[in-house]
Amino acid sequence: MELMKLINALPGAAAQGLIWGLMAIGVYITFRILDVADLTVDGSIAAGGAVAAVMITGGYPAWAALLAAFAVGLAAGALTGLFHTCMGIPAILSGILTQLGLYSINLRIMGGKANTAISANKYQLMLSLRNVRTLAAENPIFVMLLFTAAVIGALYWFFGTERGCSLRATGANPQMARAQGINTHHNILLGLMLSNGLVALSGALLAQYQGFADVNMGRGAIVIGLAAVIIGEVMFGKIFRNFALKLTAVSVGAIVYYLVIQAVLWMGLDANDLKLLTALVVAVFLGVPFWKNRMLARTRRSGGGGRNA
């Protein structure tokens, strides 16, 4: 009986994981490709949700709401990028500034309310959690699989183009990039826009899935995104070399994250402690490469000393 509860929760976790996986792919673009930790995402995911919710309640079709959310995400990323490149503010702080500003903007978008409901009864939505256990085309897992495949395909194409390659070079070695005639400022701006566009898109999908947008829905999003990136790398880093597969690993990482969350909740963890657990898990995984290097250095040193003795 208890186990059934967990099994029943799994499809929801998978759907949520796929939605957040899209967001995590956005985080991957900044964190791994551009080598920038961008905290804008906490604000831009809520902005995407808010815009989508308001557009849908205003009678616009869901696809238009998604487009608008994407555009708002691009704008949010652009703002962070301008703070960073034109005003010389460190990337992390630029993201925090935009994120803070977006809180007010998101409240304005939703007409001063902290949340906006979009019921699947009243509106034609692209996905809803009520269909998560039905075996049909409306199942959000199926919808999200299509979305994820399309996004990964588009990014695979883009990062293979001349412009996409120059973006990767900007993150890998900015000095080399400039020596090859690449405007690194433009590329950082472009990367931040693209990333936040995807994050806002996932916010719009999340709002539809859960049936509401909330001004706080993005709190800690960056940490969930990082968790997904890291879980994906730990699981598949050794075997996935292809860029499309690496992005797939991020999406799978997000699914695993939500499955694990469901499992620990089922085992009796207080839902209020979830964010603490996430923060600690991410801290540990971010610290692992550092400690690994230190351990290696130590064994090398002692090994060398042994030979000298």
Binding site: E162, C165, N173, M176, Q180, I182
Partner: protein, 264 residues
């Protein structure tokens, strides 16, 4: 090909770390000139190269490359004129990208980068041919990450990338200094060959007197941000280390500070 007129640069002006790195430096390079730049620590050799490359704006003076005034152009816009190899082998290539991707980036130096595919099968063949000439076996490793290569291999690749599209000016900033002597000699030999084959105009900073004397058709020596010795043509051909030290003493009014110069 390169016309530097009275450029000056002071770092951190008005602070305790104020450092005048270049003082009224002028230099004219003709097409095909291969000049070696030598001098002690803090003489301004690398600063001169970086001023040409646009790593920072100069305080005064002007820089022209191939008739274009580049004094106010940012680094990435000057790149279309320049091929650059740096002292640190890590600097000139993107370690997390593979060999052919790095070469494709260099192939598009100074050109607009659009949404065309970043690397075509035809150019891949060309890269294979170019790499073969290095004789390092890299032609079979086009899809290896550059981070896996040794310092010497990376430096050779950087040199190849810098000259893939013939630059108006090749800037070599102590590009053999971080390599072991054997590899350094190999990379220097490669440099001479490429410069000769492509008839490039080049500037090479070095702290190795012997290399400075044996390479190129012109030698300048810097001290305290000024060019104090400038020899070329036949005079340079006959130059010895002793001559060079005497010249320096006469021009700078002090003995050559050889703490980093290799006098061997």
């Amino acid at each position: 090909m390169l016309k530097i007129q009275n450029i000056s640069k002071t770092f951190n002006p008005g602070t305790i770390t104020e450092k005048t790195a270049l003082q009224e430096v002028s230099l004219l390079l003709r097409e095909g000139d291969f000049v070696t730049v030598i001098g002690g620590n803090g003489a301004g050799k690398s600063t001169l190269l970086n001023a040409v490359a646009g790593a920072f704006p100069v305080d005064r003076g002007s820089i022209e490359i191939d008739g274009t005034d580049v004094t106010r152009l940012p680094e990435h816009k000057r790149a279309r004129f320049l091929g650059r190899v740096f002292q640190d082998p890590m600097t000139g290539t993107a370690g997390t990208m593979n060999i052919e991707e790095n070469m494709a980036l260099a192939m598009r130096r100074g050109k607009p980068r659009g949404l065309k595919w970043g690397i075509t099968p035809a150019e891949r063949e060309r890269y294979r041919e170019c790499l073969k000439s290095l004789e390092l076996g890299l032609e079979d490793r086009l899809s290896s990450k550059v981070g896996l290569l040794s310092g010497g291999q990376r430096q050779a690749l950087t040199l190849l990338m810098a000259t893939l599209q013939a630059p108006k000016l090749l800037l070599l900033d102590e590009h053999t200094a971080a390599l072991d002597p054997k590899t350094a000699a190999k990379v220097l030999e490669m440099t001479r060959r490429i410069v000769e084959e492509q008839h490039l105009t080049a500037m090479m900073v070095t702290h190795n007197m012997r290399d400075a004397i044996s390479t190129g058709n012109r030698l300048i020596m810097m001290n305290d941000g000024r060019i104090v010795v400038d020899v070329s043509g036949e005079e340079k051909q006959k130059l010895t280390r002793k001559d060079l030290m005497d010249l320096f003493e006469k021009a700078a009014g002090k003995e050559l500070d050889g703490d980093r110069l290799l006098l061997s």
